[in-house]
């Protein structure tokens, strides 16, 4: 397990392409290449070497940064080739020594972020016409193959030794748990018994067999690998239609100040209450910021376009709190500012969905709000005076476990309110494919229809309560106490039970590949991680590389 000195160092999710240690991004017109060339000594923590292109959170942070910049800064890119700069090895997956020494919390949070990035890759392929292809110039094992699985196409070098494999079960006693098992059957449609065979075969499958089993899409001769991949990529690029300029929006580092229990960005402010283990997250729209009159004006503002800037800050804030503040178990979310302006922003984006920039902002917003859905914290949204959370930003409220809506009886003219917009009716779906409203009113069409009719109405506490859009609407006499009691009560419960309850309540209805990855696969993986068979002194994960096999408790549970 990790030592306190290591944990006390904050992880920063902001990286600069000029200082990447592990990945290289090359742009050649419509084709981009991500070269994996992991620096063995560049682990984000001490105690392990990132051999064989194995990765840790630090590598994943760079990968996430690249996927984001590709969408915003290089919108002309249609094909992204993911390959390795190392001989005979594409990627060996997550570093085993790192996993073995990490706390349970660290492993779970790391895997969650990895999953989000991989889903982001698929999102780029689907929604941004940026198709990822994995060019496996060597072995892709475990997480390395899982990364390839997130790509649209998998090309494997035919050198009679390179193979794809998911050796977690036979070698480590855990699962290929960052989407691997799910994507093999749900995305690549590998037959289930063959998937069983594949996932228990430590050396994996290469050559024609891999092709027949649908584990890869193309087998490419070693001698012509580079050229063939390039040809494949450019042919693919020319088949993709996309209207986008050759230059996009640059991202400069976020202005972020961390001072003890205060974390602040331009539009997001976080105050941490350590005694009661909650963080108050306030989203601000300062006076004077209004929605631009056209999408061209917005584009001209670039990274300073309010909605984009806000989403970047929120994105970082979520990752920051998740990774660096594990004990802050409740997030209390508020919005302050003119909510009508958010509706204007929403309309600007929705009226220009064919524009690449509006499209990217929309999907980035979608991905970021999805992060709330899978965050293992109690989310409590407060609708108070000058509430900003409306339309797209009300999705954050809808992602919350509870919403408290203040009714001001003293000053009824300014009693807190919000409004819904078309953003709440489809453009920002959850991982289960439903809107948050559909999820909220699952199995209750009447209520859903009533809410849909209330689009663009001013919704005060009484109306919100009757529509089922908020949990409680206490008046100003009760409000403060109700919220206090809720937060204090929350802090007293078993955090694990809360995580389980919340995950259960947030996701209703149909299962998708995405929800299966976050629930079915991750939940099993997280359980296996915690079992002595994997992480005990004699567990397979702990013993990996020691020459001694894991000693298992043989009971099937």
């Amino acid at each position: 397990m990790e030592t306190p000195s290591v944990t006390s160092k904050r992880v920063d999710f902001q990286v600069d392409p000029n200082s990447y240690r592990h990945l290289r991004l090359k742009i050649d017109g419509e084709v981009a290449t991500i070269e994996i060339d992991i620096d063995e000594d560049g682990g984000i923590k001490e105690g392990y070497e990132l051999k064989m292109n194995s990765y840790d959170l630090g590598v994943d942070i760079e990968l996430y940064d690249i996927t984001q910049r590709l969408r915003f800064s290089y919108p002309q890119v249609k094909v992204v080739v993911v390959t390795s700069a190392k001989e005979k090895i594409f990627c060996a997956g997550a570093n085993i020594k790192m996993l073995a020494q990490s706390s349970h919390q660290w492993k779970v949070n790391f895997c969650k972020f990895t999953n989000e990035t991989r889903l982001g890759i698929e999102d780029a392929t689907t929604n941004s016409s940026q198709v990822y292809i994995a060019a496996l110039n060597g072995v892709a094992a475990g997480g390395g193959y899982e990364l390839a699985l997130a790509c649209d196409k998998i090309l494997l070098v035919d050198d009679r030794s390179s193979a794809v494999s998911l050796p977690e079960i036979p070698l480590l006693g855990v699962l290929p748990g960052t989407g691997g098992l799910t994507r093999v059957v749900d995305k690549r449609f590998v037959r289930r018994d063959l998937a069983d065979y594949f996932a228990t075969k430590p050396e994996g499958v290469g050559g024609k067999k891999a092709l027949t089993m649908k584990l890869i899409d193309e087998l490419i001769p070693k001698a012509t690998f580079g050229d063939d991949v390039a040809k494949y990529a450019s042919q693919l690029a020319s088949s993709i239609e996309k209207i986008a300029p050759s230059k996009g929006v640059e991202f400069s580092p976020l202005k972020k100040v961390i001072d003890q229990d205060l974390i602040s960005y331009d539009y997001v402010k976080i105050v941490i209450n350590r005694a009661l283990r909650y963080a108050e997250i306030t989203i601000n729209l300062p006076d004077g910021i209004t929605a631009p009159t056209s999408i061209e004006v917005a584009k001209g503002q670039g990274e300073n376009f309010y909605l984009l800037a806000l989403v970047r800050q929120l994105d970082d804030a979520i990752l920051e709190l998740r990774t660096n503040e594990a004990e802050i178990g409740t997030w209390v979310i508020r919005g302050k500012g003119n909510k009508d302006e958010i509706i204007n922003f929403d309309n600007l984006i929705l009226d220009n969905r064919s524009d690449w920039f509006a499209n990217e902002v929309l999907h980035y917003l979608k991905r970021t709000i999805k992060r709330f859905d899978v965050t293992s914290r109690s989310l409590i949204t407060l609708i108070e005076k000058d509430n900003l959370l409306s339309g797209s930003l009300f999705e954050i409220a809808l992602s919350s476990d509870r919403i408290y809506h203040l009714i001001d009886t003293e000053d009824e003219t300014s009693t807190p309110s919000f409004a819904l917009s078309k953003m709440n009716l489809g453009p920002l779906p959850m991982g289960n494919g439903l809107t948050r409203l559909e999820s909220r009113f699952f199995g209750d069409v009447t209520s859903l229809e009533k809410v849909q009719e209330a689009i663009s109405k001013v919704i005060d506490g009484d109306l919100a309560l009757s529509l089922g859009l908020v949990t409680f609407a206490p008046d100003d006499i009760d409000y403060e106490d109700e919220v206090r009691l809720c937060l204090e009560e929350r802090a007293a419960f078993n955090p694990d039970a809360l995580t389980g309850m919340e995950a259960n309540n947030r996701f209703v209805g149909p299962e998708t590949m995405e929800t299966k990855i976050f629930a079915r696969l991750s939940a099993w993986q997280n359980w296996i991680f915690y079992r002595p068979n994997a992480s005990g002194e004699e567990g397979a994960l702990r013993r990996y590389g020691s020459g001694i096999r894991g000693n298992f408790n043989k009971e099937r549970i």
């Binding site: 206490p474 006499i477 009760d478 106490d481 206090r484 009691l485 809720c486 204090e488 009560e489």
Partner: protein, 472 residues
């Protein structure tokens, strides 16, 4: 409906007039309470009653006497004076400042404790509502009504806590307190003992002696609570509760005295024919009320009680006088134990889980005082009979003894044997019918029924023949 001038209408020391939350909550609750009182309160119509009203918590203020129409009784809200330095005396929070607010962590438990306590208060008013029709004297009638209005005030005290500290849920629970009714088949009172009608005055005296005494002990443990407003509320309630027990103690005393007088007069134990209550029947009533009151203490071993103690919600009787660490982490106590073979032995258990048992033992010792007092009357008259508390194991429906039957002496007998001998232990239908036959109202000033002796003193230095109640 707005209540004009709260402080005038509802005497209080909680700044009611300034508290928006309370005002709002009481605006809807108060008319419902009056409505409840009209429907479920005393059935005997009266013009006014000589009642004690608490108008403040000071020495003079808590007992102001005067004739008032009961519906206009000024049910007040009083907490004992706040000790600003009060520290939590026990449990995991020992030594910390007493809580002036409900900690979210304990909200549910505290609310539950207050609701259960609050539910018993109006319950007893409902149980006793018909007693006025058969009062043995105006003095007793007045005492009954005094007990009733004060139980009503104790309901107000609990409702105050729910309104002031438990938000919306608290208000809902306060409403429910008026909607459950003693003996109702649809929505009965929470505790079983509070769903039995109090059918006659002997039962009433037994109830105020034994069952209200359970209330005293429950209030005493809540008085220790880390939640200061609850503590202070219960401290003040205890003052009034002692009057209820006085009604019980002296009531039974006077019944015993009257029986002795008639026995002496006719030189026989068989005094039923002379309109007095035979001592054997008194003993059977005592057996019944004592044993059902023991059940109110719950199971001897209780994790709930242990949790309440550890979390600081509920202490022990006179917690600060207990000479231990007030944590009970490793203390043990002896409690009764039933062997597999059905023998009563004892065993050692953690003192923390045996808190109900410990409190019950304090109660038993206290109950014995009254018995001793009544036996002095018997001694005084040279009667060769002594009243006694039955064994703890007798007639129990809760706790370890619920599995067996014993005689009042504690001798284990079969269920069949118990059933056969039951009429000797507990009031039989015949006994009850006889006692009920004595229950004829005496509303004439200075007069009293045949089965009870007049009190030695009147109320508030008034004579016995004072006009304590003006009937309508």
């Amino acid at each position: 409906m707005a209540i004009a001038n709260y402080d005038e209408k509802i005497p209080n020391n909680v700044d009611l007039g300034e508290d928006r939350r309370l005002k709002r909550a009481l605006e809807s609750w108060q008319p419902n309470f009056i409505n409840w009182w009209k429907q479920m309160g005393p059935t005997l119509p009266t013009e006014d009653v000589y009642l004690r009203t608490a108008v403040n918590v000071g020495r003079d203020g808590w007992a102001q006497f005067g004739h008032v129409a009961m519906e206009e009784y000024r049910w007040g809200i009083f907490l004992a004076e706040r000790d600003r330095d009060r520290k939590i005396a026990f449990g995991a929070h020992k030594g910390e400042e007493a809580w002036q607010q409900v900690p979210g962590e304990y909200r549910s438990d505290l609310q539950r404790l207050i609701v259960i306590q609050g539910d018993t208060e109006p319950a007893s008013v409902e149980q006793q509502r018909n007693l006025g029709l058969t009062a043995p004297s105006l003095y007793d009638l007045r005492n009954l009504f005094q007990v009733n209005v004060e139980e009503g005030r104790h309901l107000w005290a609990m409702v105050y806590l729910l309104h002031a500290y438990f938000g919306r849920e608290g208000r809902e629970e306060a409403d429910e307190l008026l909607l459950r009714n003693s003996g109702s088949s649809d929505s009965p009172r929470i505790l079983g003992a509070f769903n039995e009608e109090t059918p006659d005055w002997l039962s009433f005296f037994m109830f105020t002696y034994f069952t209200d005494r359970d209330g005293k002990y429950q209030l005493g443990t809540l008085k220790e609570s880390a939640f200061d407003p609850l503590s202070r509320t219960c401290e003040f309630m205890l003052k009034e509760e002692s009057h209820h027990m006085f009604v019980g103690t002296t009531g039974i005393d006077r019944v015993v005295r009257r029986s002795c007088e008639v026995m002496a007069e006719h030189d026989t134990f068989d005094i039923a024919q002379y309109g007095a209550i035979p001592l054997a029947i008194i003993q059977k009533y005592l057996n019944f009320h004592y044993s059902v009151s023991l059940d109110l203490f719950g199971s001897e071993i209780s994790t709930n009680a242990a949790n309440y103690f550890t979390t600081g919600l509920k202490g022990r009787w006179a917690e600060e006088a207990q000479g231990d660490d007030h944590l009970l982490g490793s203390s043990v106590v002896e409690i009764e134990h039933l062997t597999e073979g059905g023998q009563i032995t004892s065993r050692e258990v953690s003192a923390l889980t045996a808190l109900n048992h410990t409190l019950r033992n304090e109660y038993i010792a206290d109950c014995q005082n009254g018995v001793t007092r009544w036996n002095r009357v018997l001694e005084e008259f040279g009667v060769d009979f002594r009243l006694s508390l039955p064994a703890t194991s007798f007639n129990r429906k809760v706790g370890i003894f619920s599995a067996i039957e014993t005689t009042p002496n504690g001798q284990i007998i079969s269920a069949e044997a118990f059933e056969a001998a039951k009429e000797n232990y507990l009031p039989s239908d015949g006994d009850k019918a006889f006692v009920r036959s004595l229950m004829r109202p005496v509303y004439e000033t200075g007069k009293i029924a045949s089965w009870i002796a007049p009190p030695i003193k009147g109320i508030n230095s008034q004579p016995f023949d004072y006009e304590y109640v003006h009937l309508a």
